[in-house]
């Protein structure tokens, strides 16, 4: 264990509040008989999945149920044996509270016991080292990444960026440092802490796979110093590892678990604005993701994850291994939820309020904070910005949040972009320190949305312009062609007439006239018929 020599700008010390769940070992909670499993087709970042089964089809646990297109997308799997009962819009676990298309599966009766047993088997999981190395040496890098992708692995730390996409970037460049993120810097969340304490060997196995894949010069696992047990567990697990892994302890400071902040904290390097960490030879993965990719390689796709349930609104706070797709209200009921609570998905700094408790657990849900409505503080009174710049001091991206706020609230979005709005990681440090209690991040999110929307609109307009210009050009061309044809015909007719004159065929004109008259009559009859019909 070593201490880090580097630090990042700003950061804050919110109350940790992890005691409620940090000493509770991971337990399994499965669906109840009355539950249905709802697998949202868009999980994390990436393009929408397409279902590959139909309503009425039966599925088995671990079975892939969707197809994904594009490099930044991974499929979803069924956590249970059951039957697909619907493919329809369901409340999504999303800050918008909107619905999203999901595959709904009715689990077979009593299948939850099997699910729990399987999960318990994993607790005493032993890693077959020789089998793993054999498997790794038999596969090419592309095949390994493909297995991780088909296993449905995305970043489990929050944003949900497909792991395969990061690894693709990683094998294309020379990776200097592989960073494993075990910081869990947000208050209240303890699921990664527990995972490191209880399943360090799986994490280390995953790290070894990444080592094999990326050949980094060094591997660093970053853990905040408020998790001594996790550090110890990782230390023990690394002693038998074939990879040389360094465990680095950092001071507890939010947001040290932000990818860019962690990279700065462990390597002293900054990821250039607008690029990915691979640009400076770094790949960063969360501990839970690393464990998941180990399982994915061994044909155990991502169907379960550990979720911290905490807050004064539940009787048994703790860390639970739950099937992805279980409705949140089912999980909370099994944890003993009290009535009238507010549910926050994610941590208190970056999480969002859940609108509908029937929304399912998705791959990116790491924490549910359940608070009694009665114990919630009233919204703090908001004052005017006094430009005290406490936010600038706290901003880990070294932005000028108060200037961004002035620009955003006066709808000067061009200025927000000049002030590097898109380098904001929405960590909420500025919100936290603001003495005037201004919801700064909300303004940045709003501004980002407006700018993105405008860019999309501009792209659409540009496309429409191209299509319209092409349309016009086509019409002109067609007209010209028609005119040309007509001119040719006329010329031909003229020539014919002249030749006719010489041979003199008086019947010809009469014939033509009769034909036209007949055609007019036919058209009139048709029109009458049409009128009668309607």
């Amino acid at each position: 264990m070593t201490l880090t020599n580097f630090k990042f700008h700003g950061g804050i010390h919110p109350k940790q509040l992890k005691d409620l769940s940090r000493d509770r070992a991971i337990e399994s909670i499965s669906w109840r008989d009355e539950d249905e499993i709802v697998i949202t087709l868009s999980q994390g970042i990436g393009s929408l999945n397409h279902p590959i089964l139909s309503i009425g089809d039966s599925v088995q646990a671990k079975q892939r149920i969707s197809e994904c297109y594009g490099e930044i997308s991974v499929p979803v799997h069924s956590p249970c044996d059951g039957t697909i009962t619907a493919i329809e819009e369901r409340p999504a676990t999303h800050p918008s509270g909107l619905q999203a298309v999901a595959i709904v599966i009715k689990p077979d009766a009593d299948s939850s016991k099997i699910d729990i047993n399987k999960a318990n088997d994993l607790v005493n999981h032993k890693i077959d080292v020789s089998k793993l190395s054999e498997l790794l040496s038999s596969l090419t890098a592309e095949e390994i990444i493909s297995k991780i992708r088909i296993g449905g692995v995305i970043g489990l730390g929050g944003a949900g960026f497909p792991t395969c996409a990061k690894l693709h970037g990683g094998i294309k460049t020379n990776i200097e440092t592989l960073i494993i993120n075990g910081m869990e810097c947000e208050p209240r969340i303890t699921c990664d802490d527990r995972l490191m304490r209880e399943r360090a060997i799986e994490i280390i196995a995953g790290v070894e796979i990444l080592d094999h894949l990326l050949h980094p010069n060094s591997i660093k696992i970053g853990v905040e110093d408020n998790k001594p047990e996790a550090i110890l567990a990782l230390e023990i697990a690394t002693t038998s590892s074939t990879s040389s892994i360094e465990i680095i302890t950092t001071p507890t400071l939010y947001p040290s678990g932000g990818e860019r902040q962690l990279i700065q904290l462990l390597t002293g390097k900054e990821v250039p604005s607008g690029t990915l960490p691979s640009a400076i030879g770094v790949v960063c993965q969360n501990v839970a993701t690393v464990a998941a990719l180990y399982h994915a390689l061994l044909e155990r796709p991502l169907t379960h994850r550990v979720v911290t349930v905490t807050g004064d609104g539940v009787e048994s706070a703790g860390n639970y291994s739950v099937p992805i797709g279980i409705p949140i209200d089912s999980l909370l009921t099994q944890c003993g939820v009290v009535d009238s609570v507010r549910i926050t998905v994610g941590g208190p700094m970056m999480g969002f309020e859940l609108h509908n408790s029937r929304s399912p657990i998705t791959k990116t849900v790491n924490c549910l904070i359940v608070e009694k409505n009665s114990s919630l503080p009233s919204a703090p009174e908001r004052y005017n910005c006094i430009r005290c710049a406490s936010c600038s001091d706290a901003c880990p991206a070294k932005l000028m949040p108060q200037q961004l706020y002035w620009a955003a609230q006066s709808r000067d979005f061009e200025q927000t972009e000049k002030l590097n709005l898109f380098d904001c990681i929405e960590c909420g440090c500025c919100d936290f320190v603001c003495p005037s209690k201004i919801p700064l991040v909300s303004y940045y999110r709003y501004a980002k949305g407006v700018i993105r929307g405008a860019k999309q609109e501009q792209n659409r307009a540009d496309e429409a312009r191209v299509r319209h210009e092409f349309h016009d050009a086509r019409i002109t061309r067609e007209k010209a062609e028609k005119a040309e044809k007509l001119a040719k015909k006329r010329a031909a007719l003229k020539a014919k007439k002249e030749s006719n004159k010489s041979t003199d065929k008086p019947n010809d004109a009469d014939k033509k006239g009769a034909a036209i008259r007949a055609a007019i009559k036919r058209a009139e009859a048709k029109k009458k018929a049409a009128a009668a019909n309607s």
Partner: protein, 340 residues
């Protein structure tokens, strides 16, 4: 959504600044009598009332604006800067101007480009130059002699009694900065001037104590992270350097650095006025420029300008440049590329 936030609130920050003013106020009262306290007692309610009225006229809720304590702070800063026996109605004109014109007409707290207290001060200075430069001769336990009492102060400030026990002409004198200026005009050297104006050691008796007490309050503000060190330090260092420079060149015509640091409103300005977050620069580098320019301007106006002290003018002038300074001193962001 209710987010987790730190305990600091605008009101709490203002309260810290008010607390930091206490030593300065004690020194002012001991040396010049309770004039500043009387002024503060008049101006605080007027400031809050004016603020509430304007906000009410804009049909908004006045409660947050009253609770944020910014109006009382403005009143306290202005009262600390006024001559202790200034007539009460002038004090009211000053604070009304500060709150209504300089602050609320721009949109209230956070929207004003100029420091309200200094706008009030400058308006009084240009409107009532005689009264605004009539300071008391320092007295009291610290520097010897009797301090003017509460009743006497009140009599003069309110002007209610036809034959007050003392008259304003009997007790007032110019500030050391003012007197020094006059002395220099008369062709005296600095050392002769110091002997002329007071029995004090450095910057005229009493004034150095007042400045030191404001310095103590300022150090508390920096220690409690209410203000950042950039502005006061750069301002004082700039003042120190420029005054040392000229003093070395011609000690007869230019006062010593210590004299400049400890006279007039230097410390009050450095820690309490120039650091007003609303009107000061916000970037770290910008704050250094902001402070340094104020320091240099103060020296310039004191040495070659028409007014004896220059904190108010310097701060207001730099307030004008704040957006420009901020624009050119944007800090390098995380991951910023050199070519971009």
């Amino acid at each position: 959504m209710i987010k987790t936030t730190a305990d600091s609130t605008t009101a709490r920050e203002m309260l810290k600044v008010i607390a930091a003013l206490i030593p300065g106020y004690i020194a002012l009262s001991l040396i010049f009598g309770p004039g500043a306290l009387i002024h503060a007692a008049i101006m605080i309610p007027v400031a809050m009332l004016a603020e509430a009225t304007i906000i009410w006229m804009r049909s908004r809720s006045a409660v947050p604006a009253i609770k944020d304590l910014s109006a009382p702070l403005t009143a306290l800063l202005l009262a600390a800067a006024l001559p202790p026996l200034l007539p009460w109605w002038m004090a009211i004109v000053g604070i009304l101007f500060a709150i209504i014109i300089a602050k609320q007409l721009y949109g209230g707290l956070g929207q004003n480009p100029f420091n309200p207290a200094m706008v009030g001060y400058v308006i009084l200075l240009v409107s009532f130059p005689l009264e605004m430069t009539s300071w008391l001769t320092p007295a009291g336990a610290i520097v010897g002699g009797d301090t003017i009492g509460f009743i006497q102060s009140a009599e003069i400030i309110f002007g209610t009694i036809e034959n007050p026990s003392i008259t304003i002409d009997g007790v007032t004198g110019a500030t050391p900065l003012d007197a020094m200026k006059t002395a220099l005009y008369q062709g005296l050297t600095i050392s002769e001037g110091i002997k002329e104006i007071s029995n004090g050691v450095l910057a005229g008796s009493g004034w150095e104590i007042i400045n030191l007490t404001f310095l103590i309050g300022g150090i508390y503000l920096i220690a409690s992270r209410t203000i950042s060190w950039h502005i006061p330090v750069s301002m004082l260092v700039a003042l120190l350097i420029i005054s040392a420079l000229f003093n070395t060149v011609d000690p007869d015509r230019y006062s010593t650095p210590l004299y400049h640091l400890l006279s007039g409103g230097t410390m009050l300005g450095a820690f309490f006025i120039a650091t007003d977050p609303v009107t000061a620069s916000t970037t770290p580098r910008g704050r250094i420029w902001f402070g340094a320019c104020i320091g240099i301007l103060i020296y310039t106006i004191r040495s070659w300008g028409g007014y004896p002290d220059a904190v108010a003018f310097s701060v207001l002038l730099l307030n004008m440049f704040t957006p420009l300074i901020d624009h050119f001193t944007q800090p390098k962001i995380y991951g910023e590329r050199d070519n971009g």
